[in-house]
């Protein structure tokens, strides 16, 4: 029982990060139809933004700065690399995001070296024991911030006019234009939100572990799997998907396959894509034409 609890508590913050990164993919994909593989590296920008800000701000302020910096870089990426290629099609745009990821990583490395970096947790103190398992205080913050981001996004998409307009773009871009929704403005909002969500959660994670320049790529791939589990559409299921990935990874790590945890996660991705291309969602989203 205690082992199970510990497994759960270890997987929870990791799953929150994978889920948040998955959500970052989903937000951009819903709006534009493209896959932004730079999400992981943009999250790392957020983490480093927080590291820098932590020199002058308390941890919570530093994490907010992290969110903003990742959001800004994400928007810059849209205007510098994605928008100019709007006539080239989604495949070209998607491939370019891989290049942007590498560029961002290299730029961070020039400024910061390879790391690792850390800053103080929001709440100081020893790890907390829950039902025989232990969890860092900061990890609880990671989960809280992820849930808060989810609630905020759900409210935004379901209750606000701008959020509904974003959903409308995802459903039918042509019709969205016809009712007077500006697609560039909506894409800007989507990229800003995507970057901010990825950035805030990874920044929140920094105090309980470390952040290194190279962390983005592997994190981004796990976020990608989470997004697939969410059918690249459903934000809630993407978070659940992130948690499932973390469970599998944690199980693999404590079993005999310790060194092969990533291999197991990615093998599962392949099996999953074959068996359930729609992820955890009930059905593939079909468009009536």
């Amino acid at each position: 029982m205690e082992t199970v609890m510990q497994l759960f508590l270890t997987a929870l913050p990791a799953g929150a990060i994978y889920g948040a990164l998955g959500v970052a993919y989903v937000i951009v994909h819903r709006m534009t139809g493209m896959v932004n593989f730079a999400v992981g590296d943009i999250a790392v920008v957020g983490a480093f933004g927080a590291v820098v800000a932590s020199a002058v701000l308390p941890p919570i302020g530093a994490i907010l700065v992290g969110a903003i910096s990742a959001g800004v870089v994400s928007v810059l990426m849209y205007f510098l690399a994605i928008h100019p290629l709007r006539k080239q099609g989604l495949m070209v745009q998607t491939i370019v995001t891989l290049g942007v990821g590498i560029a961002v990583r290299s730029a961070l490395q020039l400024v910061f070296g390879t790391g690792p970096y850390q800053f103080a947790p929001i709440t100081a103190g020893p790890a907390i024991e829950i039902a025989g398992g232990v969890i860092y205080r900061q990890s609880i913050w990671v989960v809280v911030i992820t849930v808060a981001a989810y609630i905020g996004l759900a409210y935004f998409f379901n209750r606000t006019l701008t959020g509904k307009a974003l959903s409308a773009c995802a459903v039918n871009r042509y019709a969205a234009g016809i009712v007077g929704i500006n697609l560039v403005v909506m894409a800007t909002i989507a990229f800003a939100l995507s970057g901010a969500v990825a950035g805030v959660v990874l920044a929140a994670q920094v105090p309980s572990s470390f952040i290194t320049i190279g962390a983005g790529f592997a994190l981004g791939l796990k976020g990608f799997i989470a997004a697939i589990l969410g059918g690249f559409h459903n934000i809630g299921l993407t978070l659940v998907g992130g948690f499932l990935i973390a469970i599998v990874e944690t199980l693999a790590a404590v079993s005999v396959f310790t060194e092969h945890a990533p291999t197991i996660v990615f093998s599962l991705l392949i099996v999953l894509l074959i068996l359930r291309p729609q992820g955890l969602t009930r059905k593939l989203v079909a468009e009536r034409v």
């Binding site: 459903v171 019709a175 009712v179 007077g180 929704i181 500006n182």
Partner: protein
């Protein structure tokens, strides 16, 4: 009376293929104007350029006294000109209510509740289905929703692209009747592109025949109904039929 919509010498190309060769038309306030013509004549393209779903490259489109050359799609809607596109193009995975709300996207200060009540009074069916996803509606209901969504932007000019497409004759009659009502009630100007020339010419005050990217005929609906070519090709009369407006 001055024209509320005026299109002058409009040209449009897909790549190197010019599909509109200098088309001109106008619509006066409160008028119903129809554009009929064969498939591929450029009717949809024309409406899409006016609504700025397609870029305006050559020619002029003005709304009232305002030249729309520099207008974005949103600006055209804000200036009271809205497109009800071919194939309805509702937001299928959003609710009927959200579809309507988004119709009023360009005017955030508008009284959306009152506008929606207006739409529901025209289409009571939409009120019954307001919580349903738009994709689950029937073709006719989706057409009502597409028109309702357009009403939400408080237009002065409504461009309709083949509203009768795929609808049963009864539903087509209902939609046409609603268009007439909207003109009476709101003084709406309507530009109606139709394959169903019969229904369109019944409703319209004036009409144009667009063929091969050029206006080949224009005049009052009565005149067009009496035209031999139109009777033969578009109204399904035999070549030697009596040139009297077909009815029924």
């Amino acid at each position: 009376m001055s024209a509320i919509l005026r299109v002058s010498n409009l040209r449009f190309s897909y790549g190197r293929t010019e599909v509109l060769h200098g088309v001109s038309l106008y619509a006066d306030e409160g008028e119903i104007v129809t554009i009929i013509g064969p498939n591929g004549a450029g009717k949809s393209t024309l409406l899409n350029v006016v609504a700025r779903s397609h870029r305006l490259r050559s020619g002029e489109v003005s709304l009232g006294a305002t030249d729309t050359a520099a207008f974005s799609q949103a600006a055209v809607v804000k200036h009271g000109c809205v497109l009800v596109p071919e194939g309805r193009q509702v937001f299928s995975s959003l609710t009927v209510r959200d579809n309507l709300v988004l119709g009023g996207f360009t005017d955030r200060r508008a009284n959306r509740k009152r506008l929606m009540e207006d739409v529901f009074s025209v289409f009571p069916r939409l009120e019954e289905r307001s919580a349903q996803l738009a994709g689950t509606l029937s073709g006719g209901e989706q057409q009502m929703l597409a028109i309702g969504r357009a009403i939400m932007s408080q237009p002065t000019v409504m461009l309709l692209d083949e509203p009768s497409l795929g609808l049963a004759p009864q539903m087509t009659a209902r939609i046409m009747a609603v268009l007439g009502e909207l003109r009476e009630r709101n003084g709406l100007t309507i530009v109606l592109v139709e394959q169903n020339a019969h229904a369109a010419l019944e409703l319209a005050d004036r009409g144009y025949l667009l063929s091969g990217g050029a206006m080949v005929l224009e005049g009052t609906a009565e005149k067009l109904r009496a035209d031999k070519t139109i009777q033969h090709v578009y109204l399904g009369a035999s070549p030697d039929a009596d040139p009297v407006p077909a009815t029924g």
